[in-house]
Symmetry: C2
Subunit: 404 residues, 2 copies
């Protein structure tokens, strides 16, 4: 019947539907594992059949490793007193943490609302999945990152995005007006949330309906390409570009290119707006182990279990990072950059990461051959609060694993 | 933190949230495969690991079987002209159909919005899952079906349900006021829908919030035990009873007792009200093959793949049926009965079924050793419209399979 076909579907084939949004500590501690119970969602299918095997040490060795890692000591940023690894898990409201070393699971613990069969909100790590899909399309020649957005999506119209390149969208160096200050009631984030909500719009609401309508009316703010500005609307702009180029939703593409070929253990899911558009900037919930598989793919430059999922140059590009001279505003990542929706630390180990508010991370350390995934429900959103007791802890584990 | 613990959770541990409802042809044809994209849902987890194997014939034999079954001819109820099996699939707006004979898949086809990795709304087949869980608890001595509802749930208060027995609830012979005439705008079904909706309540709404609050204020209508009346509120009453007795949501219990042990291929899911209570009377969406597994368990009296999931007496009880003298109102099932939320045909083959509006069925024919699962999106809700071109078709296939 053609319902909901196309990006977006024609008006007479569109089925719209309301919904809601939320998220505040302490309810957050429960909500992060139960997002689908509040919101409409789309599946990221693992497909059928058996999941791929994750390699574990023998049970006694695994227990020993846990003891040794729990006892590791490090000094938090801007602090004097040391802290143990295990203390940091509680300090950071960790819900689940998994460490892979040379492809083997050396540490795995669950807390709070999460267990091995649960899914947890990935928050802005979703951006990195979107960015990875975009980078795969670029590497495969299906998406030209030098094109302007309006070349791909003519109906972007007079939006400030129209004249940005795909690359600028991917690297968040667009000059677009969008304030994400959660404490300002007039911040654009709230207008965006209103547009994105699948709940019935309030009486008299005349604003945009859905992510993509919002993107069509974004105003300029500065020059494209001048500097990195962390603005979620870039990720949703990239999601639209990806869907236009592939004629697939980002959920379908994430299933085809990542979840199915990596042999995910569980389906993931992604929240949607009233028009069924997945939230490419923050909507994914997934299992801890499956994000471990994803991190391992990044460490292994696009391969998993001996199977190549995408060209190695995808990871090479991401790992190299963006232009650090354009990067600022994140004191806990002083030498960092952002490219293809991934954070690059430009540290000794060449580490890079997917990161989401309230403490979510996929942290890839190529030097230590370590992948670390953490889900958390830290009371405050910004990772600047969590990094002091996290980033040095990751470094300490990496050094321990390299030395053993 | 105790969020959402208990049935229901204490007021200060309750996280509430709005939502919506819908369903009309022709949008129905799409919506039946995408319910989670409109509504908050809870997962029925398959657990982790590999799914159980469904046995298939060789590909050439499978193709032959399809041809032979497609060509089968039968005469619809109240008709003179015969129809082929394949014609009946289109006449009935079939979305997916699976036939198992002696535990082997002999026929499997997908149409419309469904494919093998999709999930489809089970509608009132959900009741049969709820009823099966209830019957398992009865057989295991965890639920006494002679108790009154108020003995188990004191806060049912002055509701008409208070003085019904658990068995009357399971068999839908309660005397409770509830009209399900969809064409009457004042029918109770609409009040129930308003209570059940997870969307924000309209301004000035003073009615019950959620399934369970609704059940607390149901008025009497006739005597308990006198006759079968098909009323969905019984299923949700049973869901509450089950959750109270087990301290688990019906989704969790369905996962533990059915989806995990049967080695389901996919997670299923169930819609929820604003308080996170799953819709025990109609909220499940599942894959075709997994309902095939469930049907096979019913055929094999509680066992699957050599493993016993629950006592054989559960199926023996259901198959025996309810009291046909109390059954009326379904002209296409003239000799039928209803027990434990399953339909029993009392025909020559001893067939029984889970049934849902718009053409959903799990049809178990013990004589032919056949399980047939069909998902459909027939324009009209009542199965009375669909049975004429379905029930004789099932009989024709059963006879064909017995004769081959």
């Amino acid at each position: 019947m053609g319902w909901m076909q196309g990006f977006p579907p024609p008006a007479d084939k569109l089925i719209t539907q309301p919904d809601s949004n939320f998220f505040s500590f302490p309810k957050l501690r429960w909500s992060v594992c139960h997002l689908r119970e509040f919101l409409p969602t789309e599946e990221i299918s693992r497909g059928l059949g058996a999941p791929s095997t994750l390699r574990y040490p023998s049970a006694p060795r695994f227990a020993d490793l846990r003891q040794e890692i729990d006892a590791l000591s490090f000094t938090p940023l801007n602090a004097e007193a040391p802290m143990t690894w295990e203390q940091s898990l509680y300090a950071n409201y960790t819900d689940g943490i998994l460490i892979l070393h040379e492809g083997e699971v050396v540490y795995e613990r669950y807390f709070g609302c999460l267990d091995e069969t649960g899914k947890h909100a990935a928050m802005s790590m979703t951006k990195s999945v979107t960015g990875l899909l975009g980078e795969i399309l670029v590497a495969e020649g299906k998406l030209d990152d030098t094109l302007l957005v309006r070349d791909i999506i003519p109906e972007i119209g007079e939006s400030a995005f129209a004249t940005a390149t795909v690359r600028q969208v991917m690297d968040m160096t667009t000059g677009v007006k969008y304030s994400e200050d959660y404490s300002d009631p007039n911040a654009d984030i709230w207008l965006y949330s209103a547009a994105a909500s699948p709940l019935p719009k309030p009486e008299g609401y005349t604003g945009p309906n859905g992510y993509w309508e919002y993107l069509q009316q974004v105003k300029p703010d500065g020059e494209h390409g001048a500097a990195f500005h962390y603005k979620t609307i870039n990720s949703d702009m990239l999601g639209w570009i990806i869907s236009r180029v592939t004629n697939k939703s980002v959920t379908e593409l994430a299933s085809e290119r990542l979840w199915r070929p990596m042999g995910a253990e569980q389906d993931a899911y992604q929240t949607v707006d009233a028009k069924g558009v997945p939230f490419a900037g923050g909507g994914i919930s997934a299992s801890l182990r499956d994000l471990g598989r994803l991190g391992q793919i990044m460490l292994d430059e696009g391969a998993f279990g001996g199977k190549r999922l995408f060209p190695a140059e995808v990871v090479e590009h991401i790992r190299k990072g963006g232009d650090p001279s354009k990067f600022s505003g994140f004191p806990t990542i002083p030498n960092g950059s952002y490219t293809s929706q991934w954070w690059v630390f430009h540290n000794d180990h060449g580490a890079f990461a997917a990161r989401g508010v309230h403490g979510q991370t996929i942290y890839v350390d190529p030097t230590a051959k370590m992948v670390l995934v953490r889900f958390a429900s830290y009371p405050q959103a910004q990772n600047g609060f969590i990094d002091p007791t996290s980033l040095p802890a990751y470094q300490a584990v990496a050094e321990y694993l390299m030395s053993r």
